[in-house]
Amino acid sequence: MMAIVENILFVSGEAVGLKEIAKVLDIPQSAARKLMDNMICCFDFERRGLQIIKVNDKYQIATRPQYAKYVNKFIEPRQRERLSQAALETLAIIAYRQPITRMDIEAVRGVKCDSLLNTLLDKGLIREVDRLDAPGRPILYGTTDVFLKHFGLSSIDELPPLDLNEYE
């Protein structure tokens, strides 16, 4: 069954949802989840060249970072823009405090961040998740799957815990 999934993930190129995998294999989703967890381990254990990554119950086949040196030699290195310090800070605040309004982000950072939020929205790293039930109905921001993938996280729970009480 892993071989089937490997074929599917390969053909898809993009992330494939657990539901789709379960449907193709004609097994319950719980069984598919077990299989996928197993498959990720298997690929790691066998030191395969490729890896299976998991992002919010979606799975994708991908290269491993340690081979990037060779991949870059082979293909034109992707000119991936790195995020600025300010953008990373803002993302960190949104990631831990989501859903959060612009006002609250600005309160933490002590600076305006309209244009920064627009950049993050454009890059698909954050999205409008809701509106706050308050005057002006301010937008509530949250992180996206693109965010998780960008930082190699399979879910938002994988972020290291932030202990704000530590100093209190």
Partner: protein
């Protein structure tokens, strides 16, 4: 000899404060606002010297620091509980500032951690989806569409059409309005000046007027000057134009 001094760019006043604290080798909890205030102000002065634009947030923080410093010098004014609630988010004490700095520092550090992760995962590559041509695509052309999709689509179009027509009618209305000619306006003005010695240019228009009316009136006035019927004067730039009959 020209020389340049590189000033670090800080992401806002809290970022700068953290930098000053670490430079002074202080713990956040032990900061002395009095000490840090002077350094903060010195830094802003330095920025000014190099013509670096100082964002308003930095100035707000400067005044906050000075305020906290002054509060520490004079006995603290008792605040009512109402006030406290209202200013909860503001930094009005050393304690509040420290709390804010600690929180900010946490997220800043987390930003650093995210950067490390970014560096690692930037090196993960994916592949393009395989393009596989399937037969019998046409059977799927209408997949999932029902007669109600037809109905809803048609209804939506009807509504859109109505709106478009409404908008068109409005536009026509604006265009239809007739304007008087410069000659007619000249005649009107001459008649008005037979009854009054002075006229105000602004007074010539009703509450609702159009740009073209103003232009035609102005052209009429220029013609009247040329014919030596009137003289115009203005008390100040962009002020009202007073029209006086000549002779």
């Amino acid at each position: 000899m020209a020389y340049t001094v590189k000033l670090d760019v800080f992401e806002g006043p809290l970022d700068l404060l953290l930098h000053l604290i670490s430079k002074a080798e202080m713990d956040i909890e032990d900061i002395s606002v009095s000490d840090i205030t002077q350094q903060y102000l010195d830094y802003l002065a330095e920025m000014k010297r190099f013509d670096i634009e100082i964002a308003s947030e930095f100035l707000v923080m400067a005044s906050t620091l000075v305020y906290i410093k002054s509060c520490n010098l004079v006995p603290r004014k008792k605040t009512t509980s109402d006030d406290k609630e209202e200013y909860e988010d503001d930094i009005d004490s050393e304690e509040a500032l420290i709390r804010k700095l600690i929180e900010y520092k946490k997220y800043k550090e987390m930003g650093e951690k995210l950067k490390d992760r970014e560096n690692t995962y930037m090196n993960v590559y994916y592949k393009e989806p395989e393009y596989i041509v399937m037969k019998g695509i046409d059977d799927n052309l209408l997949y999932g569409l029902t007669k109600y999709d037809l109905l809803n689509t048609f209804n939506r179009l009807m509504l859109l059409q109505d709106k478009r027509e409404e908008a068109n009618n409005k536009r026509e209305h604006v265009v239809k309005k007739d304007h008087i000619t410069v000659k007619e306006r000249m005649y009107q003005l001459k008649r008005l000046l037979n009854t009054k010695d002075r006229l105000s240019f602004f007074g010539l228009f009703e509450k609702q007027y159009e740009k073209t009316d103003v232009i035609i009136t102005f052209l009429a006035l220029l013609d009247l000057i040329r014919e030596d019927h009137i003289e115009l004067y203005q008390e100040k730039l962009f002020g009202d134009i007073i029209i006086r009959k000549r002779g």
